[in-house]
Amino acid sequence: MIGIEETKRVRINMGPQHPATHGVGRFILTLNGEIIEDVKPICGYLHRGLEKLAENMTYQQFMPIVDRLDYVASMNNDLAYCLAIEKLLGMEVPERAEYIRILIAELGRIASHLIWLGTMALDIGAMTPYFYTFRDRETIYDMFEEICGARLMYNYVRMGGVSNDITPKFMEMLKHFLDTFPKLMKESDGLLTKNRIWMSRTKDVGVINYDDAISWGLSGPCLRGSGVNWDLRKNRPYGIYPSLDFDIPYLPEGDVYARYLVRLEEINQSVRILRQCVEKIPSGGDYMNPESPFVRPMKKPKEGIALKDFVLQIRGVKAPAGEVYFGAENPKGELGFYIVSDGAGKPYRMKIRTPSFVHVFALPVIVKGGLIADIVSVISSLDFVFGEVDR
């Protein structure tokens, strides 16, 4: 007969076409009733071999592809890549460009967190905050469109500065955004943060403690949600972050709710950084280092320039032989570029350290013992993007 000991484990194939896996993720769940016993993440459906591509492209040719990594925070990807190349080449960036970079990086962070908030609310069943966050994200994308013409894949930050100067209209839009956004943010905040259902769905769900979070290599808000006070903007400062005044939120609980609160506070801190930048930004000056080897000599057409341009296009900028690792604090976590150069215009090997890749493989340990509904909230709280996971 059918004994109790013989209860069967149900195996469910979640994805790659599933509304809650945020892309083409696939997880094989082993269920005991509704309790998750094991999760096996399977990825590679979006694998494009970016690291191999990078080996066969000059540094500036690879630039637009970086946008495709974490496609909801392209500006931050650009910034991280450019900073890595600048570290390799030892380049300087003019002050105005530094401010512009921080401006767009923090705007990108807000946009990325907004899309996370909307999708997380949607995953847990609340439909409405999705539309509120998309309204606010839309204004940010309008601003990006104003400065570089693109709405999703910007390719705006360049080695040695940014591709073009920001316009007065952008500053106006930004100031208006900074005035209205905190109030608008309260709408979604009011719908969720103190909501009893929301709290019961997120509190004590998907807990990962301090040591495990470090050992599993979580980064960004997920790491800080486990009580680790670590932010590359403070601990490995880059750009003009040291001169800005902002706090790093971190909470010791390590559950979905802690990650949620950390991200919400990060949005507030980003607004704070933006306000400071708007005040401090120098009104004039270069937006691009004119001595940057990547700058195409376009202004004065004279003899030899065409050849120089051609060489720059074909051979690229010869970087000194050596290797460099640079990690930047992206909305999703630490995005790092490890570049090995052999002295040619192309990287000999480029390893892209993406936060999402690590987060996906930390999922089994976080979600084990939870219910089916929990995996959805944990996935959205880890906030991975499969463009980054599969690279």
């Binding site: 069943g125 439909m127 409405t128 539309f131 509120y132 769905r201 219910l371 509904a373 995996i375």
Partner: protein
């Protein structure tokens, strides 16, 4: 005898058409109301002058012309039967639902419901309870789709649990009115205060059960899109899939009218109690549609509960509360705590 059969048949036809129209209206209303909540517009292109009122008709036509896919491994008969059951039993429940106050013609009353039985409420509960067979059959017949199966499991557990609590919550007004007849219960409230003032606990419990039985956010676990793709709907297509929401909309209507009849005095109002008749009619439908809107409102506001939390709420909170409430009501009735 013949006249009974004839009036019954005519009433049946009228109510059936009305419910179909209501379901179409709800399709539009739901999207418009959600659109209003979510700072968007909602349907507007079909019949632009009427704010897209004809959109549901276009949708229905589209659904009828879609390809009807039956999975290879599906249990064909049950697969076909499931949406029929899912839509039929809510309609059956609506047969006993009053569509307005009874018309007094001469000395006798003309009831605005297809069947008028003295155990009306029990009949409605029975029909609503049988509705879960639709989802259950859909889940089992879907050819081994695990999402559908889990969804069916959830639906059954949810329906069985919450029906118990719902019946217990309704028992309080029944005890006070000493009747299972819906019209008697309203008549009782016409002479006293509405039952919501005597039975606030039962009111809240019933309100929660109302959402759970209709499987609307925050209790829409059977078709939790983010977890179970679309639950029991996963393998369905075309009109078969369209029939489930029809059933759900009718369930919403029946639950709202039960709510109004049992706790908010049915067609009695704060002023002009049922005189003239048409005023009672208007009172009734205003209240009913407030609750219908409440369903959509909650849809646009709340996140979804988790399965175990849903069960905990039912068995660990609502059930003890409603049992205690019944004890209190019985006690109060025995010692004759005076009704105002």
């Amino acid at each position: 005898m013949l006249i009974y059969v004839l009036t019954g048949a005519i009433k049946l036809l009228v109510v059936f058409v009305l419910l179909l129209l209501y379901a179409l209206f709800m399709l539009w209303f739901e999207r418009k109301a959600l659109g209003f909540i979510q700072i968007r517009i909602g349907p507007k292109l079909v019949s632009s002058g009427l704010e897209g009122l004809l959109q549901p008709i276009a949708d229905m036509l589209k659904t009828l012309w879609k390809e009807d896919i039956v999975p290879h491994r599906a249990d064909k008969l049950v697969f076909w039967l499931a949406p029929v059951i899912g839509a039929m039993f809510p309609f059956a429940a609506a047969m006993a639902m009053p569509f307005g106050p009874p018309l007094k013609i001469g000395g006798s009353y003309f009831y605005l419901s297809v069947v008028h039985v003295n155990v009306g409420i029990l009949y409605i509960l029975a029909a609503l309870g049988l509705t879960s067979y639709g989802v259950l059959s859909a889940g089992i017949a879907s050819g081994g789709n695990k999402y559908s199966l889990i969804s069916a499991q959830r639906e059954v557990a949810q329906m069985v649990s919450y029906e118990v609590v719902m019946a217990l919550a309704l028992l309080n007004p029944i005890l006070m009115a000493q009747s299972l007849d819906l019209y008697d219960i309203v008549a009782m409230q016409a002479h006293h205060l509405w039952f919501v003032f005597y039975q606030p606990v039962a009111f809240v419990v019933f309100l929660i059960c109302m959402f759970a039985t209709a499987a609307i956010v925050p209790f829409d676990l059977p078709e939790a899109e983010q977890e179970l793709v679309a639950g029991f709907n996963t393998e369905y297509s075309a009109m078969k899939m369209g029939m489930f929401p029809f059933g759900q909309f009718v369930t919403i209507l029946v639950m709202s009218s039960l709510m109004v009849i049992f706790f908010l005095g049915g067609w009695t109002g704060p002023i002009w109690n049922g005189h003239p008749w048409i005023l009672g009619f208007i009172w009734y439908w205003i209240k009913v549609f407030f609750f219908v809107f409440l369903f959509i409102w909650s849809w646009g506001t709340f996140p979804r509960y988790r399965y175990d939390q849903l069960m905990n709420i039912c068995w660990k909170i609502l059930l003890p509360i409603s049992v205690l409430n019944i004890l209190w009501t019985g006690f109060a009735l025995i010692i004759h705590i005076p009704m105002i």
